[in-house]
Each structure stands twice: as C-alpha cells, then as structure tokens.
Symmetry: C2
C-alpha cells in the first residue's frame, strides 16, 4: 500500500513541524497508526507495537497518542464506558457504535448544523467548542 506509506510520511512530516523528536518508539507508533484501520484503542496499538519493540511501555503509547491529539495529528473519541478510541480521520464526522461488537462506524451529517444553530440560541452566551453525535445500536452484521 503506497497509501500507508504516504500516511506515514505525513505523520513524520507533521510531527517534525511540531517539533516532536523522532524516537524509535514514536516511529513504531506512527507506522502502526498509518497501517491500522480507524478507531483503534491504545491497547491495540500497544499490542502490535510491542511485537517489534518489546521493551515499549504502555505509558509511552498513552503519552504519544494523547500528544498527537494535542498537536492535531489525531482525534480521540471518548465513547461512553469503553476505552478511548483514536481516529486518523480528521474530517468532521460522527460515530455509530454497535453495542454488540463495539464496532465504530463513521457517519457524515450535513444537517447537524441546524442542531448547532438551535443549541447556540438556547445556550446564550456560552461558547461551544465541540459537537459530537453519538449513535448507538446494533450493526448490520450483528443483527
């Protein structure tokens, strides 16, 4: 997949811009992220990473992924109850979670802007920083 390689290049480039050091641990995490499907957990990344880098610490993965969120390389979705998921899809979108298999599906919602308008008018002077629609149910597979 040349696509993955591009992804990896992008991560490396961006992190360089942000002044992050290119440590081997970070490289492994970057590579795994660029090869992974979206919505991975820290634990998933950690388990794959330790195969090629056995002395890697989970804390390092936690620290790095959260840092990537801060620097805008990733998004994190805090799903109710379950562990944090990290999203490489930076486009504005929302999520459906299957309560059986826990699979996360992207949803693109144009009409959500009307709900944002409604919210604004009801919340008065409050400042809205984020808006996330959480859909939950049973996916096609699990039905």
């Amino acid at each position: 997949m040349t696509e993955n390689k591009d992804n990896l290049e992008k991560l490396i480039g961006l992190s360089k811009e942000k002044g992050l050091k290119l440590t081997p641990q970070r490289m492994v995490i970057f590579r795994i992220l660029s090869e992974s499907k979206q919505h991975v957990t820290v634990d998933q990344v950690y388990k794959r990473a330790r195969v090629e880098y056995p002395m890697l610490s989970p804390a390092t993965v936690y620290r790095n992924m959260e840092q990537m969120v801060e620097t805008g390389l990733l998004t994190h979705l805090e799903l109710s109850g379950a562990s944090m998921r990290y999203d490489t899809n930076l486009d504005e979108h929302h999520h459906f979670v299957c309560s059986k298999c826990r699979m996360v599906t992207d949803v693109y919602l144009d009409n959500i802007k009307y709900s944002l308008d409604e919210s604004r008018s009801q919340l008065g002077k409050a400042q809205i920083n984020s808006l996330d629609l959480h859909l939950q149910g049973t996916c096609g597979e699990c039905l």
Copy 2:
C-alpha cells in the same frame, strides 16, 4: 417545596409498581434525588445521603441508581471521561457540558431528527437505539 414531595411520591409509587422494596437506604436516595438538581453523580448523592445514613455503602448507591435507570425512573448520561450523571428529566433532550466547571445544561433539539434520517440512510440495515448530541465548551458563567 410541594414539588419535591410530589416527586418523591412519584418515585415511591413507581418503585412499588416495579416491585422494589422500600428500604431505608432507597428512601434516602429517593428523597435526595427528588430534592436535587438534575445531573447528579453517584458520589454527590452518596455524600449527601451518608449525612443522614452514615453506614450507607457507595455500592448501594451505585446499585440503586443503575437499577432506577433499568426500571425507567432515571436516565443516565455517559459523559466523556467524567463520571456518570443521572438525570431526572425523562424528556428527550441533549446536553452541553462546560469544560471549566463541568456544569451540564439541557438542550432541546427539534432539528436533530434530520440528522437521525441522514444517519439511518448511511448506516443501512443497522438498528439505531439511541442518539445523543454532546456539546462541549465554556458556559456563560465561566467566560
């Protein structure tokens, strides 16, 4: 407040219907809920309850509140990261959370139905059981 008393009566009545035993612990929890503002945490209820019932166990509060959700006396909102909030407002609505003071504000969104339609068409045969809009930002007070 006769309103609180009505609330309490309602809780007692409903729980009787559902076959829940009227233990003193449950009564204290009911009363506190009927006197509290919306969106309380288990810990808030526990701390207030132990004043009049010092031997109360936190697990009992957890058990009771979650059971009340199951029997439809309460709703719980799983806010990202923070601890679970319990809502006595059973009307369909959504929530704004201030990231400074953690205050939770109700929002009523008519237009959200259009997002539900969009979601349905994108998710195909999946069955959607719940839809929650999480708004986050800074409240008027904190600004």
